[in-house]
């Protein structure tokens, strides 16, 4: 199935490496426009309360302040990312719902004046009791955060497949374990920023976001604008990891303030504000029950999950579904019961973060299944091999899975890591553990209801053929999507990659793509630009055929041609068009393209992608159904200091079943980055709030401790040679999010192997390990 390609499968240099490594690359906060004003949001200083009054008079008197807006100055239409639960206003109308909630915005002639003005604005509140845990939110008589969510219950899910209770009754062994996840944060380096200006009735917004289309859609919906009247643009984006999918208060406020003042307005978050914007990982409280036969085959699984959601819904409904929807893709489970509740609380809203709702449930399940295996004497990797899904199958929930080699991933990880020699044999303090994961390659549905294609691509060849412009509003948030899209377009056209250029980050000039989320772009935008490239190639071959025939070069000595020369007799590779049976007879792409331009005008190729109808009919099937699923196995080796509890992750192996790898260097970068995020969430990271006031305590990188380079182990990133996905362009599948989903389980299992105590609460901090070891010693076991 695999072919020799010019660019696909090659580690070509990224198109943005020069700018980003020299500091020339511009980000939204770097933008400057003549007469530009600077703006910031006014934020709540209490966790829950009614706004009694907002006094902006002192701030308005400050020299240089140009405009101050609050809820009364902006549309009151609610927005969100789950159509059934639009519950967020541009600015709080009656109530503030968390410490840091958006009350209004100020703009002034310079940064300093904005900060001074913010201090002069006085908000009077009638303070209301607040809740900061789902347990408190769920209590009888708890303060109501939203009228529309009685008992603060934001959503509940009940997915029941097969007959769990009967299967558990027949099981050889049944076990229940409880786990607790924590609230984490994306920790992208570039904070959110927006800059807007108007030209007549048209607005232009630069936004550091993961989807120019969704920002355009949501802003136009709320502001009552035609989408053709709002252009959303981007410069470089300094990562997102799910935290830049929701439009921010900055996007709305910049557009509105710019309209009011008639001047360009740039707005930005300081780092603590990015924490307050939230949308990071939900803390989940999880209870898992599994029944197995004596070989370890899973007969039934029950998963009860509660999410602490923070103040608004955002993407939280999808997060809730993702918590349970992908387990049945990984493992063959005929009887499956998933019950889930999401509560709102008076903390910043949670949302999507790399792997979306899945990583904490992966942690819980992967550790739980090790405990099950241990009880019946089955090796962890054997437990996984027995239960792993195989390709060309349909899940219990009805999802269709084409390529899927979790079995191969487990075997390769086992052999590469020296598992058999190491597991349980390295002495006290040293351990090795395994975890499985994987992800969708794009969601089956748009986030709002539409019949649009999910991605549209275009290729335009410059007049004389010396450059190919590849159009797609897929968002390169640092993962390198521009590079791989150009690789695929170049491959499809037979044109040099080095002469390609992206036209992206502009809803006017480029073409629709839903953006960077659900690991969708390489597949979906990949199809769109591949098809666009193929259309260009088709036109080039037709024109070349015409040129060759007109040139008279074909008549002499080409008697083997069966009839007249046709475009099918030609091919084009790396900018050279040639006769397949006589490659010496050739033209350059450039001369053919130029001739096309002379004869017909612009040489264009167009492509689009829609996943069509995918599997699954139950309520919520939309979250989890996908054209293709990756799978992955990670093995981690750790050293635990049995006195202090300090954990060092010393080595790791990752095998990702990712189909064809378009760019190996970028692929391995994704695996390394994914493991980095996963191990950070396993051991170090947690967003903390004051338990009484709900005030953020660690909104900085000193106290929100990401691992450093010194904490990061080497990662051996491996691939399966025969992995090929028929639903992906060139046979590809995702890597970006799936590779972060096995990590917490793998590391937690290694810690268990090292210390002999099961750690069920994330993050597994040094102090928690110390305490667990102390308690174990005290109990004399």
């Amino acid at each position: 199935m695999k072919q020799d390609y010019s660019y696909v499968g090659k580690s070509v240099d990224r198109n943005d490496s020069y700018g980003k490594t020299t500091g020339h690359a511009q980000y939204t906060a770097d933008l400057k426009f003549p007469g530009m004003l600077y703006g910031k949001l006014i934020r709540s200083t209490i966790a829950h309360g009614r706004i009694k009054s907002i006094d902006t008079s002192e701030a308005e008197k400050l020299n240089g302040v140009k405009a101050i807006i609050t809820a009364k100055d902006v549309p009151s239409m609610k927005w969100g990312l789950s159509p059934a639960r639009f519950d967020e206003n541009i600015f709080c109308i009656d109530k503030v719902r968390y410490h840091g909630d958006k009350i209004g915005a100020v703009c002034a002639v310079d940064e300093e004046t904005v900060y001074k003005a913010l201090k002069l604005i006085k908000v009077e509140y009638e303070e209301l009791p607040a809740v900061f845990t789902w347990q408190d939110a769920a209590k009888e008589g708890a303060p109501q955060i939203f009228e529309e969510y009685p008992g603060n219950l934001n959503t509940e899910i009940h997915h029941h497949f097969g007959d769990v209770d009967a299967a558990l009754k027949d099981a050889y062994y049944v076990r229940t374990d409880k786990f607790q996840g924590q609230r984490t944060y994306h920790a992208f380096i570039e904070n959110h920023a927006s800059a807007a200006y108007w030209d007549g009735d048209r607005a232009f917004l630069y936004s550091s976001c993961q989807s120019v289309h969704y920002v355009q859609y949501h802003l136009c919906r709320v502001l009552g604008m035609k989408m053709g009247n709002l252009t959303v643009r981007q410069t470089n984006v300094g990562a997102g990891f799910g935290g830049k999918l929701d439009p921010t208060g900055l996007d709305f406020a910049a557009v509105i303030l710019s309209k009011i003042t008639g001047q360009p307005v740039k707005m930005w978050y300081d780092h603590a504000e990015t924490f307050l914007n939230g949308r990071g990982r939900h803390p989940m409280t999880m209870e898992l029950t599994t029944g197995v036969d004596k070989n370890g085959k899973i007969l039934a699984h029950k998963f009860d999950c509660v999410l602490e959601g923070g103040a608004y819904t955002g993407l939280g409904i999808a997060s809730s579904y993702y918590a349970g929807s992908l387990l049945g893709v990984l493992y063959l489970i005929d009887n499956y019961k998933f019950d889930c509740r999401r509560y709102v609380t008076n903390l910043p809203p949670c949302g999507a973060q790399r792997g979306h709702g899945q990583p904490q449930p992966r942690f819980a399940f992967e550790h739980h299944i090790d405990l099950v295996g241990e009880a019946i004497g089955v090796d962890p990797i054997d437990m996984r091999l027995i239960n792993a899904r195989k390709g060309n199958s349909i899940t219990t929930a009805g999802y269709e899975v084409k390529s899927y080699n979790l079995v191969g991933a487990n075997k390769m990880a086992r052999d590469a890591s020296g598992w058999t020699e190491k597991r349980g044999k390295m002495g006290v303090g040293r351990g090795i553990g395994v975890g499985n994961g994987g992800f969708v390659t794009g969601a089956g549905f748009c986030q709002y209801r539409t019949d649009y294609p999910h991605s549209v691509g275009m290729v335009k060849i410059f007049d004389d053929g010396t450059r190919a412009y590849v159009y797609s509003n897929a968002v390169d948030i640092g993962q390198g999507s521009d590079t791989v899209l150009m690789q695929m377009a170049a491959e499809a056209m037979g044109y040099p990659y080095e002469r390609c250029q992206m036209v992206t980050g502009d809803t006017d000039l480029s073409t629709l793509d839903f953006g960077a989320y659900a690991s969708r772009q390489t597949l979906m935008a990949g199809w769109a630009v591949k098809r666009a490239g193929a259309e260009v190639k088709k036109k080039v071959l037709a024109k070349a055929c015409e040129m060759l025939k007109a040139s008279g070069r074909i008549k002499e000595g080409f008697g083997y041609l069966d009839g007249p020369l046709t475009p099918e007799d030609l091919d084009c590779v790396e900018g050279i068009v040639f006769v397949k049976q006589e490659p010496a007879v050739k033209l350059t792409f450039e001369e053919v393209a130029r001739k096309y331009f002379v004869d017909h005008g612009v040489l264009l190729g167009r492509g689009w992608y829609h996943p069509g109808k995918l599997g699954g009919n139950h309520k919520g099937a939309a979250v989890g159904t996908s054209p293709a699923y990756s799978s992955a196995t990670q093995v981690a080796e750790v050293q635990v200091d049995m006195e202090t509890g300090q954990i060092e992750c010393v080595d790791t192996w990752d095998v990702h079943d990712s189909g064809t790898i378009i760019n190996p260097k970028l692929f391995h970068g994704q695996v390394h980055g994914a493991f980095y995020m996963g191990v950070g969430e396993t051991i170090w990271e947690e967003v903390k709030f004051d338990k009484k006031t709900g005030k953020l305590l660690n909104g900085n990188f000193a106290e929100y401790r990401l691992p450093t380079a010194l904490d990061m182990p080497p990662v051996e990133s491996l691939t399966l040679d025969d992995s090929y996905e028929p639903n992906g362009p060139y046979g590809l599948k995702e890597v970006g999010e799936g590779a972060t989903t096995p990590t917490m389980g793998a590391v937690a299992n290694a810690i268990y192997d090292a210390m002999g105590v099961s750690m069920t609460e994330l993050p597994i901090t040094y102090e928690k390990v110390w305490r667990a070891l102390r308690d174990k010693k005290a109990s004399g076991k």
Binding site: Y115, T644, W684, L710, D711, T765, E767, W770, R774
Partner: protein
């Protein structure tokens, strides 16, 4: 985040700097590396009306050995100056090593010895090793200079015995009979983390017997503290594992940590036990001061 308004002075002499500090009194703050102060100012935790930068005081940027006396470390030396100093590598590698464990490379390039000390943060990494090595600080003010033992310098979190017009000019580590010293910092990741516990020890070992010992603990009390009972216990004992373990237990009884966002008091207390034992073992075994 933006800096508040302030007046800025960059004097060319110590005398002039002290004069400015005297003139402006409590309104003034000394700026050296700024790694802590500028961040605090941007976060609105500190708003001095006058900032006196000491960056021009070149004479405070030297590390020298004074023959027969000891090592003199200028207060404006950066942490990386300490890390790279041949004098320290030869005579007190434990000091260079303590500096290496601080913060991250960027901070080590800017942060200074004087700032780390006069800031008087309980978790600072340099004071414990200086206390263990019986170092002194030379303070210069408008009324002249004086020498204060490092262990007597701190009076509380952010508080020292320094007068408003005084600067730290240098730290002096005297020649001594100690045969080994060591500082172990325990942070919650390998770089860019404040000490949850820092333990510094210096020992004089002859024929396996501990003749003298100094133990200083960081991040477990309002100031860096000496563990004097531990020191007394060690004197005259053989440096066996049991003795060093017992010393750890005694040291853990000599600290008064608090619980905060990073660690609980009981965890810190036990870490003092563990790291006192380990730091002593290393100082005894590795042998160099």
């Amino acid at each position: 985040m933006y800096l508040p308004d302030f007046e800025y002075y960059a004097p060319d002499s110590i005398a002039e700097a002290c004069q400015l500090l005297s003139q402006f009194g409590a309104k003034a703050k000394v700026l050296a590396g700024g790694t802590d102060m500028v961040v605090k100012m941007k976060n609105e935790l500190l708003a001095p009306e006058v900032v006196v930068s000491v960056k021009n005081l070149e004479q405070l940027k030297k590390i020298e050995y004074v023959a027969g006396k000891g090592v003199c470390v200028g207060a404006l030396c950066t942490h990386n100056d300490l890390v790279k100093s041949d004098v320290l590598k030869e005579r007190y590698p434990s000091v260079a090593n303590a500096a290496r464990q601080m913060a991250n490379n960027q901070v080590r390039n800017r942060g200074t010895v004087g700032g780390n000390i006069s800031n008087a943060v309980p978790s600072a990494d340099l004071p414990p090793i200086f206390i263990a090595l019986n170092a002194t600080a030379k303070l210069v003010g408008t009324k002249g200079e004086r020498t204060v033992a490092m262990e007597d310098l701190f009076t509380g979190p952010g508080k020292t015995v320094m007068a408003q017009d005084e600067l730290i000019a240098e730290v002096f580590i005297p020649d001594q009979k100690m045969t080994g010293s060591n500082y172990i910092k325990f942070g919650l990741r390998k770089s860019g983390a404040l000490a949850v516990v820092g333990v510094a020890v210096a020992v004089q070992v002859e024929n396996g017997v501990i003749k003298d010992a100094r133990v200083a603990l960081g991040a477990v009390a309002a100031t860096p503290v000496r563990a004097k009972k531990t020191e007394e216990f060690l004197k005259g004992k053989n440096a066996t594992d049991d003795v060093l373990a017992e010393a750890g237990v005694i040291a853990s009884g000599e600290c008064k940590p608090i619980s905060d966002i990073r660690a609980s008091a009981e965890y810190r207390t036990d870490l003092v036990r563990i790291f006192t034992k380990r730091a002593l073992r290393k100082a005894v075994d590795e042998g160099h001061v």
